[in-house]
Subunit: 342 residues, 2 copies
């Protein structure tokens, strides 16, 4: 893309996706926008050094709407989502790939803005974007912009796996539940909560590294980032993996009062909503206090709380205790009718 | 997804993308369809062994239309495209990730069919699918089904890079030019050529391995798969990388007569069209015969031909010699108006 093409009203056109000169110029512009965060060599594959013999690999596609929201956008979400998926497995995120599917007519300045966010998030997380791909589809064949990121990390400590979770482990949540979803729903529906409830979207590899460095190896059994399906889906996943009862207290959940109000208005429960910067950790009981302290000392873990524990059970269940002591078994939601939050 | 959900008229719905039970059931069905080709552990990241300290990483999104064509479909293209991108860099492809973006209303039996093709192609290529992601968007928000694959390979020999190409190298093409595009355009436009001109979509890692094993190290300087932009885009890329003249003879190009007829009808040139199973190789002159022999002995290289050579020049150009000896300098195409062929 020459300077003439970078004008404010310039749009992505079908020819940008054909592999010819215009394609190449768009790719060069994308690489320039990503700056030194991008280390692809314009070959068909990036050639990378991995210092360990064991790697973590993950992928995620992002179809967020709106593309740009109060304190983030699809570019930030696409990088943080994959960085976090690597980090919760105990890996150090190193490399990301970035695949773009762009609807013809999408404004190039908005594409640049999303890429700048991706670049900034990658910088914060300390990862490099090593390979990319750009496809253009016709008007009406995609909803503006979809991103896919795949990630490669290395294991400098043993991997964290869900089967390590056992009765006796404490369950810790690292931040307010549902803020990302409430923020996006508020922007989408014009509810007016979006200023008071911000998305929590953030790269959490630094937070996770601080926790894992701060306690003896094995004290943290497993970590999961709370995304689609919310805390409830995470707890059901770990209940199935451990065959245990995952029990938490409703009053212990870290929630922002404005988010509760918004969720009540929408008739939904925060435990089913997606975050993009919130962890659920399973920790040895005698180290739970240490982990909580480390989380709370970090900007992304200030509102962390111990919410419950893993109990021996004859079948996997998720249970919630009310302030009056009554207990409810939580079903796994069948569907949620809340698509495109991440 | 329970058996009741696998009925012929079952469709993907928005709830399949919400992270709740329906999502999980769809993901489990996807994993079951991929069979032992899928080695993801249903954690957020796959944990993988890499036998070398140097890896190749690449990504590609696929927006092919039609999704299903005469002798292939988006699932096959998505696996072969990424396998080939890894293999042309000299890497052995090991692991793929698979990201799906599905339009609500897409028939589940067609999704299964595309995944079966992806599985079969992965089996043939000897790669495992290690992580996946599924997003569902509303009707009209995507054109049925998009796939993204990212790939990880290992280097058991030195990487092949475009800057190794030098004057004196012979240029070899491994098969008929443009067949994949002509096949898809014929299906799209109802031209009637699709039976006689089949897509060449295939995993080429076996073919590349045979070539690299069969000649001394360094004899093959670089390989590129001829995809978007066609042979002309590949030659321009290598002209820029080497600063040399890339010269070929029109009469030497391997082309299928029916593909030439179809291209003439469409007013396009086969050198600009995408393949999905065709290589362009840059080879030391005294080993070109050996490489050609190895290619022609392989089912995917039967129609290989030496088409030209790299010549010293003052600026990078691509030149074509006609049968009467006249020479044309080929411009890089600006755009091609032929989107969504891969």
């Amino acid at each position: 893309m020459t300077k003439e093409h970078a004008k404010e009203n310039e749009e992505v056109v079908l020819d940008h996706g054909t592999g010819a000169r215009l394609s190449r110029e768009l790719v060069e512009r994308i690489a320039a926008t990503l700056g030194d965060t991008y280390i692809g060599a314009m070959e068909d594959s990036a050639i990378l050094e991995v210092p360990t013999g064991r790697i973590a690999v993950t992928t995620d596609s992002f179809v967020v709407t709106p593309l740009f929201f109060g304190n983030g956008d699809i570019g930030k979400v696409a990088v943080c989502g994959t960085v976090n998926d690597l980090a919760v497995s105990g890996a150090r995120p190193l490399y990301l790939t970035l695949g773009l599917i762009i609807e013809a007519g999408f404004p190039i300045p908005l594409l640049v803005r999303a890429l700048e966010s991706a670049r900034d998030a990658a910088k914060e997380a300390g990862v490099k974007i090593v390979a990319g791909d750009t496809k253009v589809v016709g008007k009406g064949e995609a909803d503006r912009l979809f991103m896919n990121t795949a990630g490669v990390g290395v294991f400098e400590r043993p991997p964290l796996v869900s089967r390590a979770v056992r009765p006796g482990h404490k369950i810790i949540v690292s931040g307010y539940l549902g803020n990302h979803s409430i923020h996006l729903l508020s922007v989408r529906e014009g509810l007016g909560f979006e200023k008071r409830v911000q998305s929590d979207c953030a790269p959490l590899n630094g937070l996770i590294d601080a926790v894992l460095k701060g306690v003896p190896q094995g004290a943290v059994a497993a970590i999961r980032d709370v995304t689609r399906g919310g805390l409830c889906a995470v707890l059901h996943e770990f209940a199935r993996a451990s065959g245990a009862e995952l029990s938490f207290a409703r009053a212990a959940l870290p929630v922002l009062p404005e988010a509760v109000m918004a969720a009540d208005m929408l008739g939904i429960n925060l435990i089913h909503l997606a975050n993009e910067g919130c962890l659920c950790l399973f920790v040895e009981a005698d180290k739970a206090g240490d982990v909580l302290g480390i989380l709370r000392a970090h900007p992304y873990g200030r509102n962390a709380a111990v919410i419950g524990e893993v109990k021996a059970a004859t079948e996997p269940v998720v249970s919630m205790t009310e302030p009056d002591g009554t207990q409810t078994l939580l079903e796994e939601l069948y569907g949620a009718e809340l698509p495109r939050l991440c």
